[in-house]
Symmetry: C2
DNA sequence: TGTACATCAGTGAACGCGCGTTCACTGATGTAC
DNA sequence: TGTACATCAGTGAACGCGCGTTCACTGATGTAC
């Protein structure tokens, strides 16, 4: 059978993880097939042995990034909280910090790609839409949101998602570190006013 | 002197307005020189008689979009408010509505481009950073924010900017109209809890 | 007023480069006997 | 155990297309006399 299948699977995994990081770091449009393969330690010619097309890679890499980052952000929120810190503050803090802002490639895929979603394929949009719903659930959970159980009532959980994604997006957008920090701090303060409202 | 200079200036203005709409609608990366000139009723060859390069067009078009949309959004907030509506609600309502979400090309340049800013040139980032500061001022004004006057205190005006931009970005990103509406409504509800806090 | 000329906004063909995709080939690995 | 063969992941040259940019040319307008 020549080369081992395990070896090939390993290569593909390496390409996927590289692409998953690159699309979060530089955006979907900026992902080049040759660039990505080179970063994974291969040449561009080998690409089509693993993926049907650039679009196929993008979708798989996005699913990888979403699945990994969504879980990881939630996990960090349960690991790090200091005594007396609310679950909402712990969860928000995982997003609203300078390390996350400066490391888009290893961070939340929704924060990294929300702005590009409307120009992307329907498949990409669907994956990111699911991410929005998952974040909403995490926040409702974090606040034990009994108040959000009624369907008609307008809860603020989705508003908190918007604030988190907007804050990270803006903090990465501006060319001033000081302003970026202010955006993070102010957004956290805004979210924390909801601690009572959601419980 | 051959052709009138006024005619040339008119052509350039038409190209600028077309580009200003196109970059908000489809993103900066997607702007093609030929596409843009065709939409303005010219051929691509005439482009370099008006602009030094594609990048130069992008910067001018962005400045045009920012200058126009920032003023327009603020103006609408002062024109439309119903009796008893707070200034903060009026301003937020200009962003958080379906018409704005579906008409990126005629809307807020920051909402349209915040997600791309970190991949753009320093010049582009500077222009958008100014926009963030202007929006913050509008919100502070809208709330007469006496509370925000102390420099050390963490106000929530920037958090409101983040919520507005995040909400519009997410509402445009998701592939469900229903979810988009919920994002807008929930974000407005979240912002309005600040009406008291800022006054 | 009329005619010849100069100006220049706009045209459209062409160039060059980057990038997604294809494909003939290589050479390391595993199998058959 | 050793040798010949088959498999196939990966290589690197090449193709084709799109797009930013260049440039020789056109023709409408205004000026000079």
């Amino acid at each position: 059978m020549g080369f081992s299948q395990a070896q090939k699977a390993e290569s593909k995994q390496r390409v996927l993880e590289t692409a998953s990081r690159m699309i979060r770091e530089d955006g979907i449009d900026a992902l080049g097939v040759a660039d990505c393969m080179r970063s994974a330690g291969l040449t561009h010619g080998a690409f089509y042995g693993h993926f049907a097309s650039r679009d196929a890679l993008i979708l798989e890499a996005l699913e990888h990034a979403v699945g990994q980052s969504e879980k990881r952000m939630a996990l960090r929120a349960t690991q790090g909280p200091k005594a007396g810190e609310s679950a909402l503050k712990a969860y928000s803090g995982v997003f609203l910090n300078e390390r996350h802002v400066k490391n888009a490639g290893a961070g939340c895929a929704l924060c990294a790609l929300a702005g590009e979603a409307r120009h992307a394929s329907p498949e990409v949009r669907t994956v990111l839409t699911d991410y929005v719903r998952k974040m909403e659930s995490r926040i409702v959970q974090a606040a034990h949101a009994a108040a959000g159980s009624s369907e008609d009532r307008v809860g603020t959980a989705l508003g908190i998602v918007a604030t988190l994604v907007g804050a990270v997006t803006l903090a990465r957008a501006v060319d001033s570190d000081k302003l970026a920090k202010s955006i993070l701090a102010s957004s956290l303060a805004l979210i924390l006013t909801q601690d009572a409202a959601l419980q």
